[in-house]
């Protein structure tokens, strides 16, 4: 999985920002969006997406 896979398009960009805020991870904005993510980060991102998509 890459950041592009998780966060496609303009809506993906908004979701990425919410995940960055949720995780306090400004570095995500600077990562290569096409690079493979390690398993630990994939898990963190999945959990954060679940959290930020809730009401």
């Amino acid at each position: 999985m890459t950041l592009d896979d998780f966060f496609p398009g303009n809506m993906g960009r908004m979701l990425l920002i919410r995940v960055m805020l949720r995780l306090r991870r400004p570095d995500l904005a600077k990562m290569n969006k096409k690079s493979r993510l390690d398993d630990s980060l994939i898990k963190q991102i999945k959990n954060a997406i679940y959290d930020v998509n809730k009401g």
């Binding site: 809506m11 920002i17 919410r18 400004p26 809730k54 009401g55």
Partner: protein
């Protein structure tokens, strides 16, 4: 209860609207904007924004109740709280019952609530936290003023909220041993030193802005028996500009040294885009629009002028179309509420602070040229995705901001290549 003339909303220069008695700038915003703004601010509990939202609301409740005492000659604490509840309902926030509130606190009930009930329409699932932060803060401020106490005299502890599945909102006001220190409200805010009067509306259009304003003046935008304002397919609030400014700018302050501030600004702009999509979109497919504005609209450009004319009744300042083609919109905003609030609270800004205006301006072009709102599409999530993801959609940039000392704010909206 309260004299009819008490705390009425009065039209002021440059498209502003002030609540008489306390000079609080008032602006219309919908449940979608309120949802997305609050969702963004509450995204991480570590930022402490829940208490910041409550505190900002407390200041507004305190100001409102104080104005009732000072300017409307409401005297007893019970009468002040009841009158404040009338104002609260009129502005579209819902209903509050202070019957059990004393100088030591008590249980406040909210049988209906904009924040408790009306944010569901934007929410994908159940809420994980109570949304009635504004209600709780406002009530605490009202009680403090009613009993002639400092603004931060009461805490408000949540007992129930519609957003969590409860039938009504319940929160317990508790007297603090030592009042919490509070910032003071900035009132009507400030314009820049170079502030200029707006020019007349664009004349090369079939749209008659004055006629639109006259027609809208005949509509009732006050809360119904539930204290809610269902209009144009959304739930409106006639809200405190200083509340929005306080919580938005504080959010960015909190993020200042985290490396997240700039990206968070994008979320504030997107909340403005959501606002445009739902409120402007709702207006442009409404019977009122079809009756009043649409007959004037012969071209897509007329639709832009028509919605700008309507926006100029929201209290957001005076918007003027400066240049317009299907590829590009340049809008000048005189006395936009974000700039006035920023200067009033912090002084001159080092960067543009016109997040709502930026998202709103992009939303106008996306609705009219990308989304073809003239064909009355259904304003659902699929439609939002279609226009937000469109390769040839529009992107807006604030090119100057009154908050930075400019005479007016300028937003340039351009079609993406």
């Amino acid at each position: 209860m309260i004299p009819n003339s008490a705390l009425t909303i009065e039209a002021k220069e440059y498209g502003r609207r002030l609540m008489s008695g306390c000079d609080e700038p008032m602006i219309f915003h919908c449940n979608y904007y309120n949802y997305w703004l609050q969702k963004n601010l509450l995204i991480n509990a570590e930022f402490g924004m829940a208490s910041a939202i409550r505190d900002a609301a407390t200041v507004q409740g305190y100001q409102t109740a104080h104005a009732l005492v000072d300017k409307a000659a409401v005297t007893t604490a019970e009468a002040v709280m009841a009158a404040a509840a009338v104002v609260y309902a009129r502005q579209g926030f819902g209903t509050l019952n202070f019957t059990n509130t004393t100088a030591q606190g008590g249980l406040v009930t909210a049988p209906s609530s904009h924040y408790g009930q009306c944010l569901f329409s934007s929410c994908k699932g159940d809420f994980t936290q109570a949304q009635n932060l504004f209600d709780r803060g406002f009530a605490a401020g009202v009680a403090a003023a009613a009993f002639d106490l400092p603004a931060g005299s009461f805490s408000s502890e949540l007992e129930a909220c519609h957003s969590l599945g409860n039938k009504e909102g319940l929160f317990r006001l508790k007297r603090r041993p030592v009042p919490q220190n509070f910032f003071s409200a900035c009132g009507p805010g400030l314009g820049s030193a170079k502030r200029k009067s707006p020019p007349p509306p664009w004349t090369e259009t079939n749209v008659d802005e004055a006629a639109i304003h006259q027609a809208l003046a005949g509509l009732d935008f006050s809360g119904n028996e539930e204290g809610l304002i269902p209009r144009f397919g959304v739930m409106l609030t006639d809200h405190f500009a200083n509340f929005y400014n306080r919580i938005s700018f504080h959010f960015l302050e909190v993020l200042e040294d985290t490396g997240l501030r700039e990206v968070a600004e994008e979320l504030l702009v997107e909340a403005g885009h959501r606002c445009a999509f739902n409120t402007f979109g709702g207006i442009m497919i409404s019977p009122e629009w079809q009756a009043v504005v649409q007959p004037m609209c012969k071209t897509p450009e007329d639709w832009v002028h028509g919605i700008v004319a309507v926006i100029n009744t929201f209290g957001w300042g005076t918007w003027r179309v400066h240049a317009l083609t299907p590829e590009r919109l340049v809008v000048h905003i005189y006395d936009d509420y974000e700039s006035r609030g920023y200067i009033g609270m912090y002084g001159t800004a080092s960067h543009p602070v016109n997040f709502l205006a930026t998202g709103g301006a992009a939303g106008i072009m996306n609705l009219i040229y990308t989304g073809h709102i003239s064909q009355a599409p259904v304003l659902d999530n699929d439609f939002y995705l279609r226009i937000f993801e469109a390769k040839d959609g529009y992107h807006a940039t604030p090119t100057q901001s009154m908050a930075m000392g400019a005479p007016f704010t300028e937003i340039v909206v351009e079609r993406q290549k």
